[in-house]
């Protein structure tokens, strides 16, 4: 069974823990660089991207995370997608540039504009929870769009990495987490 690390600096890491279990992986919480050693893949959860950025910086986790991503799959949801993006606006903030997308924060508005919607994933409808969600404004040529909502890409993958702007960890549908586990299982690891 594959071990999936969940970055547990802040956010809905507990919801991801349950989602990984449902999809057939073994979740572990990651708070230090050493915690990464046991992981076959890493999920960066939803939460506040500014809070996570501060803690990554203060705890010197940015470089170990980059190195991990150079070898193994990383999956970001919402705030996690913001951290993994090439560039971030509204406001402009640093990101890890692991996946070639540009992201605008809080692009749908505030909490009262949060929504449960049906997105289109591979010709199939999928329930998606958007909470103060970002929008993917640009998708690089090397990336594949796996789901859209009102024409906007909401699930994108590039090589071993993957992001969603919605929260698959908050719905019982396991397809997104299963896809990540598949990537973790099949992609050759140079570790």
């Amino acid at each position: 069974m594959k071990t999936i690390g969940i970055l547990a600096l802040q956010g809905d890491f507990d919801a991801h823990r349950k989602a990984v279990e449902r999809a057939g992986g073994r979740p572990v919480e990651v708070r230090t660089a050493k915690d990464l050693d046991a992981c076959d893949g890493l999920i960066v959860p939803g939460g506040e991207s500014t809070t996570m950025l501060k803690l990554l910086d203060i705890e010197n986790l940015t470089e170990p995370l980059r190195q991990f991503a150079g070898r193994k799959p990383v999956f970001g949801t919402c705030a996690g997608a913001i951290l993994l993006a090439h560039s971030v606006t509204s406001p402009t903030q640093p990101s890890l540039n692991l996946i070639d997308i540009d992201v605008e924060r809080n692009a749908y508005g505030r909490q009262i504009d949060s929504r449960v919607a049906h997105v289109e994933a591979g010709g199939q409808p999928m329930e998606a929870v958007f909470i103060r969600a970002p929008k993917i404004r640009r998708v690089g040529p090397g990336s594949t769009i796996l789901a859209t909502y009102n024409g906007d890409p909401v699930w994108v993958e590039q090589g071993r990495h993957m992001v969603t702007t919605f929260h698959p960890e908050l719905t019982p549908d396991s397809r997104v987490h299963e896809r990540f586990l598949e990537k973790v299982s099949t992609l050759p690891s140079r570790a």
Binding site: Q10, R31, G47, K54, L55, I58, Q111, I112, S114, V116
Partner: protein, 294 residues
Amino acid sequence: MYLSDDFRLKVGLAEMLKGGVIMDVTNVEQAKIAENAGASAVMALERVPSDIRKEGGVARMASIRIIREIMDTVSIPVMAKARIGHFMEARILETLGVDYVDESEVLTPADEEHHIDKKSFKVPFVCGARNLGEALRRIAEGAAMIRTKGEAGSGNIVEAVRHIRTIVKEMKQLTILGKEELVHESKNLGAPLELVEWVAANGKLPVPNFSAGGIATPADAALVMQLGAEAVFVGSGIFKSEDPDSRARAIVKAATYYNDPAKLLEASEELGEAMRGLDVSKIPESELLQTRGW
């Protein structure tokens, strides 16, 4: 109720705040300090609880101008407080677009019998509780997040500890009871049977359970998280200390590493004076904030 899309979104935002620190701020400068220190949200209010305690008078919803300025300045969620039972303050805050409303005992109650019917709002609510019955009554009314009341503005953790321990213990007790006993407990707790049964089956609240009221140090934050809180609210503890900026950072670190004593030591080092605390047993009954609401 638990599966409606609206309620899932309300609880969903609370999920995003877990492991974080929600900081009381009274102006834009403080909100910026909080965001830069890594706060996961800010709570906009006119006066921090320790000043409300000192100055007295009627404490109301904060000035709209200040809340709006804070919303325009920070990118993290902005919460604001409404008086207990004051559903029109809440309606105004919802219309303004705040991300969460705290129906709070820190403000002067507007209604001594009724809390707000929170189900009729699109904006999510957090409410204070001292025990399981109170928590479940608020959830029944539509609260999507519970926080212990503690004793706001006291800088003394003893009441927050009492409240989180009480709620956790009362939940544990439910898990070993039979069906007919749960009916009896529902009566004792003054809470709907449906919610009592849910807690008995799951051993936890159906919404996130945070802690507030007296947290002044990184160690305080770690303590309530060890006892079962999933995130912390810090009111007077930050901006009534000698060193708001470094204290805010230290408490953020403590909320993440509450299970890592070496990191907690790092967080506790080089801090200045914490806010001056109050002995809760010396506060006259009539001045306690936690007894507001039921």
